[in-house]
Symmetry: C2
Subunit: 181 residues, 2 copies
């Protein structure tokens, strides 16, 4: 157990205590650091938390046309085109205030979105990305809950933070990316 | 022209003036209410503004399973199932802090998502909904810009506010809903 995990467990235990203050529970000092994740009757405590929607990714066959739609027709603030060769995409970020759209276009021959665009010639929603507060804890937990992951370890995503993709077949047909907040 | 449109036009004119204060422009009083949308050289002023992402809608073949994924596996706060017979869907709202996911499942025989689920048996992202500050102005503007709309007039959406869907063929394969903020 890492120091971080121990700290998380303690935090969970304390949170559990404050949530259950009306019940008779041992004092914080008496709690072991190996306190089980479920600290009170039927109330599961998770070691990680889902956060905000970071972005919706849209794969597009024509990046200039798609950028013009959001910038000139819909009036959104859009970024310059950002090539991300290590991810095999060009990206344009569309700012919506509370979150972003990310327009993706293939870069290079092994682009991970090439297949998607072959099946969806007009383009389409490719994935959603939701932030998590502890991606390593999330990965352990999701594996235990039999959610298939698309890589054995987290990778560094387009924002320079660790990310992991969950299998769409385990997520109602939606490719879900989780990203360390 | 309605009083609201006139008011919007005036507001745009005043905004245009304040943005262009360093240029020589006529006083507000001298401006006609039919001032063109472009009030200074090459700087188009829109009569409406795109706002925040209200939600991402996900069509699911099994609503209980999908709800359990977001609630029990991913730990999100989810609503009870809300039947919306006038929209032909059951909905579960998944709260992500900055925005929501809306899980949709067909209700009734003429559900607008039945066809989508026949093509996408595992489910999938159905549409995104972005708020606008003036849906009537947006509709006029989008029609002028040759974006096809899926109904002649806005309808009252799932949140009790006017909404309009834009044709996916004009939006990079994405069904985009705009909703009055």
């Amino acid at each position: 157990m890492t120091a971080k995990m121990a700290s998380s467990l303690l935090k969970v235990a304390v949170t559990g205590l404050s949530r259950c203050a009306r019940h008779s529970v041992p004092s914080v000092r008496a709690l072991s650091l190996t306190v089980p994740v479920t600290v009170s009757k039927g109330v599961p405590q998770s070691l990680w938390k889902l956060g905000r929607l970071n972005h919706v990714a849209i794969a597009v066959p024509d990046l200039e046309k798609a950028t013009a739609l959001y910038r000139d027709v819909l009036g959104a603030q859009v970024s310059a085109t950002v090539p991300l060769p290590e991810h095999g995409v060009y990206t344009v970020f569309v700012e919506l205030g509370n979150t972003k759209l990310e327009l993706l276009h293939p870069l290079g021959e092994k682009s991970p979105i090439a297949g998607f665009l072959q099946k969806n010639k007009a383009g389409g929603m490719h994935h959603i990305c939701i932030e998590v507060d502890d991606i390593n804890a999330a990965i352990v937990d999701l594996k235990e809950k039999k959610i298939r992951l698309l890589s054995p370890e987290p990778r560094i995503g387009a924002h320079g933070k660790p990310v992991m993709f969950l299998h769409p077949k385990d997520c109602d047909g939606v490719l879900v990316e989780i990203e360390q907040a």
